[in-house]
Amino acid sequence: MSKVIFSIRRFNPEKDSKPYYKDYEMNVPEGATVLDCLNLIKWTKDGTLTHRMSCRSAICGSCAVKVNGHPKLACKTQAAEEIINGRMKIEPLGNAKVLKDLVVDLEPFFSKFQKVKPWLVTEAAGSQQSAVNVKETRQSPEDFHRIDAASTCIMCASCVSDCNSWASNEKFFGPAVLAKAQRFVDDSRDKATLERVINLSEANGIWDCTHCGECVERCPAEVKPMDRIVSLRTTAIKMGIVNNNGARHVEGFVDSIRSSGRLNENIIPVKSMGIFNIPGLLSLIPVGIRMFLKGKNPPIIHKHIDEMDDVKRIFKRLKK
């Protein structure tokens, strides 16, 4: 047992005008998880400390908190591994309003799932009809594996906590919701794939992810949300759902590399907006002027790189 200082962010809306950190010094029993430590503090030192928990076996998603700056499931994190110079910092999840201490408001998170219709769409859904259909819908083990990863999501909101896109745009569906969407898009039993992919390609959907990879890093389950988002983007392009900024951006990107081996940053924004999208194009002008004034505009004349043969070979290989 070693003495550790737990620095916990506290906030009680009934008393405090703003959050503050309170230190608790405690021996960490061998094998204790972060949740065990929070409970020991609550039960033996300060009953007012407030956090959520239920299953304590990493499956219900209640106990996610930030440990030393990043979200973790308290119940599955060994405390010993998180002690840095005798200290551990515990804070509520990010990108959410704090209700009290480590408890955040999850209503915005949960209510967003509705946007992607997270339920199987089949002719036989619901118990009334299924009385006729007395056998399971067949699904191959391979098809099961395509949705297995996303279906391990425990809705703990860890991914959202560190999501950069969510931080800059609260309307962004977020990693968990998009992973849930992938689980249905790729479900061999689902009959609404096209409709789903169209919906997901709109603003705040799959193209709003900035690819920072935080969600993959933070997810305590096997979901790897960003990988699911990439898979959705691939599906969208394959299905020809390309009439949107995100898909056009990707296509413009590919075109530019194919023709010159580098990004033509003058053309890509235009392609992303769509050549015929006059208001969209006009909206780019102020950005262009600001870039010019700050000396950040790309060169007007776009040159190709010397190794264009290599580029062509790569594209040929990819095509195969």
């Binding site: 094998g31 299953c55 209700l99 949960f110 339920w119 859904a125 118990s127 399971e136």
Partner: protein, 570 residues
């Protein structure tokens, strides 16, 4: 006062399954103290039983016999028959709703072996079956968001029953600390189990028997409370579950001498004997000094299954071992000990979830119970693995249908709102305003220790009586225990105190029922009465709360249809 046609308390499999049945026609509310996907059903790992016969021959008749025998003949056979006949349909329905299942090569739902089942009939989604089912139901519930109002993080504190008619519930909004009466034509309790009263348990912090205590305080008896299932393979020191799937896939149990000791206790079924038998075997090894290094645990060894099979079939179990005790089961055996796991007892209900309060079939009009908080009784003295998810689904669904029928002809009742609120307010104030010196934490720990050591896998009169004395002492000390958080917002300290009060109350019921039952049957193993005694004890216990707070025990007969009691051998 809020009003809904149907009020469902609990958002586990039973509660949500029922909600889907009635919501199209009647305004339905679900009250749950945790967000629906946090319900403990999600923790179920191994599987859900149905005689789909996807990998071998199987039939409901075989499933029925296995269940009756597993229950040590205390299960009510009419209800069991109903459940196993409904099972294939209930599972197919879940599959059609979108539940993700592991598959056979030809695309059917995969099935594995489980203890006490004579055929591989556990349908599963890797080792996350409960999670897959819970999320599939949740998806359907949010599809019906306009018809089902969910009150997440609302806590029910009392059930309103007058003259055998149920009128509604009193709830506490955890986020704001506000008390609210919810009035309904029908109320369904699907509040889950009560394993938290034991020091080693696989149950969630939320499994504190709130529903059964609310019913008990409203004058409804509790049935067969002495039957608490101990699962043989809890992670040592933690109680977190290593699913029976680990044995279903071929894991060995090994003692300190390196022996597969199940050979001595259940030669034919070995590790796949029912849980009560395996738990007693583990405990006997430990008690007789054959634990690992003489300590209080043995090993479950999965190494011979090989890396690939473990990663494919038991990924979560492997991860739990790594995260919680630093053991990777691919390389090392996992230390395990019996853990309090499942509550066979509960609120007495019939096959349609209707709550019945005596042996004459007297109903509480408008009050229903389903899932682990109910005692139908399909599990009798010992539940077979994978039969409880099934129970929650089948009886959730049946009760939903019963609610449909009932609600059509039912009416709302007058409730004296102020009186109901002030009585619950009084109870909270009493807890909040004690300025005593006792610590909730000590009381809780002492309760869990004594329940585990004296009312656990093995029991005897002397131990149980000491236990009862201790529980009563702790109840007294609780009155002097202090809550330091005076706030209204998310006062989890208050909630935990309320839950401790529930645990203290139902523990007494468990112990008193256990003292009285002078025989060994299923999970109830009395060293002083080691034999099953059908002549005297082939009957269900009913425990009533007397006006003076004491417990009155009555009994009711077991329904036997197809299978006469016989000796139970595996």
């Amino acid at each position: 006062m809020l009003t809904h046609d149907v009020i469902i308390v609990g958002a586990g499999l039973a509660g949500m399954r029922a909600a889907l049945e009635v919501c199209d026609k009647y305004d339905t509310a679900i009250i749950t103290k945790v967000y629906p996907t946090r319900s403990h059903s999600g923790a179920a790992q191994g599987g859900v039983a149905a005689s789909l016969a996807n990998s071998t021959d199987d039939s409901w008749e075989l499933h029925m016999y296995d269940t009756v025998k597993g229950s040590d003949f205390l299960g009510d056979q009419d209800a069991i028959e109903m459940m196993v006949k409904d099972a294939p349909h209930a599972i197919i329905e879940m599959e059609h709703m979108g539940c993700v299942f592991s598959r056979t090569e030809d695309g059917r739902i995969a099935q594995r072996e489980f203890g006490g089942h004579s055929r591989p009939r556990a349908c599963y989604a890797a080792d996350r079956t409960g999670h897959a089912l819970l999320h599939a139901l949740y998806e359907q519930v949010i599809k019906k968001a306009d018809k089902i109002k969910i009150y997440s993080e609302w806590y029910i504190l009392s059930l309103i029953v007058e003259d055998n008619v149920c009128k509604g519930v009193v709830t506490y909004d955890i986020k704001t600390g506000r008390l609210e009466v919810l009035r309904g034509k029908a109320v369904l309790f699907a509040t889950g189990g009560y394993g938290r009263a034991f020091s080693i348990t696989s149950n969630a912090f939320a499994s504190t028997g709130d529903g059964i205590i609310a019913a008990y305080r409203a004058g409804i008896p509790l049935e067969d409370m002495e039957f608490v299932q101990f699962h043989p393979t809890g992670l040592y020191g933690q109680g977190i579950l290593v699913s029976e799937a680990a044995r279903g896939e071929g894991g060995y149990l090994v003692n300190g001498k390196g022996e597969r000791f199940m050979e001595k206790y259940a030669k034919a079924k070995m590790e796949l004997a029912p849980r009560d038998i395996v738990s007693r075997s583990v405990q006997t090894e430990v008690n007789e000094g054959r634990g690992i290094n003489g300590k209080d645990y043995v090993y479950i060894d999965l190494r011979h299954l090989g890396r690939e099979k473990i990663l494919e079939k038991l990924p979560q179990i492997r991860q739990l071992g790594i995260d919680f005790i630093g053991v990777d089961c691919i390389e090392k055996p996992i230390p395990i000990q019996p853990t309090a796991h499942y509550s066979m007892g509960g609120i007495p209900a019939d096959k349609d979830g209707q709550v019945i309060i005596d042996d004459k079939g007297t109903k509480i009009t408008g009050f229903f119970a389903a899932g682990e908080c109910a005692c139908v009784s399909v599990h009798g003295a010992n539940r077979l693995g994978t039969n409880s998810l099934l129970d929650a689904l089948v009886f959730g669904r049946r009760t939903g249908k019963a609610l449909m029928e009932f609600t059509g002809n039912a009416k709302l009742h007058d409730i004296n709102k102020n009186q109901e609120i002030s009585s619950v307010r009084g109870r909270i104030d009493t807890i909040m305003n004690t300025s005593g010196t006792e610590s909730m934490n000590n009381i809780r720990n002492e309760l869990k220790e004594i329940m585990m050591s004296s009312c656990g896998v093995f029991r005897n009169k002397e131990g149980l009586e000491t236990c009862l004395k201790k529980v009563k002492e702790l109840q007294g000390r609780f009155k002097k225990a202090k809550v330091t958080d005076r706030g209204k917002t998310f006062n989890s300290e208050l909630i935990e105190a309320v839950e401790l009060q529930h645990m203290l109350e139902y523990s007494e019921v468990i112990v008193v029922s256990a003292i009285n039952r002078e025989e060994s049957r299923g999970s109830h193993a009395r060293t002083d009465f080691p034999k099953r005694d059908d002549a005297k004890w082939l009957k269900h216990t009913l425990s009533y709360k007397k006006p003076d707070g004491g417990i009155e025990l009555k009994y009711k007969s077991v329904t036997i249809t197809k299978h006469q009691p016989e000796e139970r051998k595996y």
